[in-house]
Symmetry: C2
Subunit: 284 residues, 2 copies
Amino acid sequence: MGIAERKNRQKQALRERILDAARRIVMREGFAALSMRKIADAIEYSPATLYLHFASRDEIARALCEEGYAQLLETFVPLARIADPAERLKALGRAYVAFGVEHPQTYRLIFMEDPSYTGAALGGAVGASRKEKGNGHAAAAAGAGSSEAGDEMGNAAAQADDDPGTAALHIMIDALDELRAAGRLSASVASMDPAVWAEALWAGLHGIVALNLTCPVFPSAPLDIVVGVTLDAWLGAPQAAQRQGATGASSAATARAGKSAAGQSTAPGDPTPEPTRRRKNAGP
Amino acid sequence: MGIAERKNRQKQALRERILDAARRIVMREGFAALSMRKIADAIEYSPATLYLHFASRDEIARALCEEGYAQLLETFVPLARIADPAERLKALGRAYVAFGVEHPQTYRLIFMEDPSYTGAALGGAVGASRKEKGNGHAAAAAGAGSSEAGDEMGNAAAQADDDPGTAALHIMIDALDELRAAGRLSASVASMDPAVWAEALWAGLHGIVALNLTCPVFPSAPLDIVVGVTLDAWLGAPQAAQRQGATGASSAATARAGKSAAGQSTAPGDPTPEPTRRRKNAGP
DNA sequence: GTCTATACCCAGATAGAC
DNA sequence: GTCTATCTGGGTATAGAC
């Protein structure tokens, strides 16, 4: 019967309208300003109607988070095809920072707001490249040998069945594994546990984005420079360790970062810019 | 006349009680849960009374921030006396992370909440080691040569007249300058702009703390290990770059980090622990 | 200085008419 | 399915009595 299906379509359509409105509010005024009333107002429905589609404001927030992770994943996917693992990883790092800078409220929501939001889309992906899932917490420091086990399901693009957040992180982890397998890590970090290495790099990038969103005096140098320096520090400035006189940048890779991280189009298809700095009280 | 002074003392005392109560609420339930009503309730005064001491909730928040920065500075001061600049910088880094982990809500408030809070206590300190104050934003990348200018007022401990936040950051920057002057930076980072280097290191540490507070799956390895790896990456694992077989840690320095960052006493005199993870709705 | 009382705002969520 | 109306509870801030 087509009738039930049409009703279903309509229901889905309204659900999308709700999420659209919610996303717009979050992008404009930040997550704290998101309220059921405002959403209802924006879509010209009564507040009560929202509860026919979402059980609570929290559920809407969670849906927005998933969208955010998917959005981040989308900017990663094309970069996953870069052949050279080091270049790929650098491109991913720059894209990660660019995403945070271009979608500050989205980034805040999925990575800086609430542990339950951040955790929802991350099924314990980090630190367990191909280890068992379990809470690898206890003895993770002694797991350097387990990373070259089987290769089935290991390819980045094939992980789309995971949730987006996990998939995005796997793209990074896979690149790291390749890099390690190729023995291309700079001498000073080659001996470390890859999982720790990955988390430390992630922290570095997250720190750059987070400080940029919250700390007015950061960075004093252009953002791309700081990003380039961080990537070089972890991935190793290609070979020549002794070049001196270069003040801020280290290589062509960093120079390119200037373009890619500052420009607005890291990946195709994001129609919605968010205001760069959040004002104290965004509302009128 | 002693009468006016006594009244003044009483007024100051109540002000302190207000801040005490506010601090306790923030530590227990997070900044978002701080309200005038709750403070008034805690000190058994009427809400209206609070407005005789603070113009708004925001003013209370700002006062709490200053306290937070001062608290952070206190944990830095004793470490500023470590002679070796590399060791000093590592100790500072570990203390920084330890502070964030031990006082999550305080750290959130001063570094992750609102740009105006974070900016209030930071008079443009970063990136301008001894340069003029002005917004060194534009050409900061070309300033590698200006760091050994004059030494008057350059000593870390002498900067107590600055606001606490700035002073704390200057302690780190000074250590970096010394390290650079001594030519002790690892080869791969020796050629960089010190200001950029400092900001990137700061971002790395901030990222570790921030992810630890917000991302449930971070880190999978013990925190101290990740901190140690980050410090080694930026400060250089002392000399031996080729040691292999060490899985997570790299040196005695990292091993020590395990103790200092995990233990509860980085600095003397903080009486108030905060719950480690923030629950979604902390209130009953 | 301190209180009570209150004005005025906002929120999330639900009951029950249509 | 959608609405109106409402419950319940929170918040900032102020007026005016004491």
